[in-house]
């Protein structure tokens, strides 16, 4: 049994129904999906028991009705486990994971900037990437705002400072 299959089996044993659509896409790539409530348990288990000690990044995306978050964590820098979760667009709140992975703070700031996800418990969600005069409540990676609209908004919102 390869290492990937072993990890997959352990995750299935531990979480059973809670973990959905788990698959090995190719060697060293595992994708899985969980509900928001279970996310932290899965990550904690992966970190403490399975040895996934490196977080590569957090990807945020706009799925239409919901916002998707993908946590990419790595085991010995070789096997990448991508755990997906969804949060509603009108109440984009999720609990932070900086207590598990300290460097996640900066990725959470990035996702907060670009998609407006609020990470409960992250002490520093100040703008990281967007300019100081960025208009409020405009999140560039959401699909409901087009490039033209965004440029117009920036020109209106900018100027002060």
């Amino acid at each position: 049994m390869s290492r990937e299959e072993e990890i997959l089996r352990k995750l299935e044993e531990k979480f059973g129904e809670k973990i959905k659509g788990i698959r090995i896409q190719r060697s060293r790539r595992i994708f899985a999906e969980v509900n928001v409530e279970d996310l932290k348990d899965v990550l904690r288990y992966a970190k403490d028991e399975l040895g996934f000690d490196h977080i590569s990044t957090i990807t945020g995306e706009d799925l239409g009705e919901a916002l998707g978050l993908i946590y990419h964590i790595a085991y010995e820098n070789s096997i990448e486990l991508s755990i997906k979760t969804r949060i509603p667009k009108n109440n984009p709140k999720i609990v932070t994971i900086i207590d598990l992975y300290p460097p996640a703070g900066i990725y959470e700031r990035e996702v907060h900037d670009l998609l407006g996800v609020i990470f409960d418990g992250n002490p520093d969600l100040s703008p990281l990437l967007l300019p100081d005069n960025w208009p409020k409540d405009v999140y560039p990676l959401r699909k409901d705002v087009s490039l033209e609209e965004m440029r117009a908004l920036i020109e209106k919102g900018g100027g002060e400072k």
Partner: protein, 146 residues
């Protein structure tokens, strides 16, 4: 009086000090501009020195498309430079903003903010091209009253 002004023009042409500012580019033009200072190209031959303080500089060399966040900073540096001052836009990004023309955080080329004297296109321009840009600028210094 004619002689003094031509002497000044000569001095200006022979002693152009530059300040470099990256407004949000990819570093490609920056390393080529820096490579122009190093032994193989050595622009100090023409008296060009890279200065850190805008107060000491004659030429503002801008690389990269202007982003929203650097706009104010760039304007301030331009205003801090003493007259007569010249601007040289290095790389296609600084010339027109391409290939980031439609990115939401990019305003466009440098000439949206203040007049540019010489454009050096290229992605990135070779150090030779940058030196030629400077040569064009020297010619302009000679012909133009400022």
């Amino acid at each position: 009086m004619m002689n003094i002004s031509s002497l000044l023009k000569w001095a200006r042409r022979k002693s152009p000090w530059i300040i470099h500012f990256n407004t949000g580019g990819c570093n490609g033009c920056d390393i080529e501009l820096l490579a122009a200072l190093t032994p193989k190209y050595d622009v100090e031959r023409f008296g060009i020195l890279l200065k850190g303080s805008p107060r000491h500089a004659d030429i503002l060399a801008v690389t990269g498309p202007v982003t929203n966040q650097t706009k104010d900073r760039l304007l301030r540096i331009y205003e801090q430079m003493p007259e007569p001052k010249y601007v040289i836009a290095i790389g296609t990004c600084a010339v027109s903003g391409a290939p980031f023309w439609d990115c939401y955080n990019v305003i466009g080329g440098v000439d949206k903010l203040f007049p540019v004297d010489v454009y050096v296109p290229g992605c990135p321009p070779r150090p030779e091209a940058i030196i030629q840009g400077f040569a064009k600028l020297f010619k302009k210094m000679e012909e133009e009253e400022r």
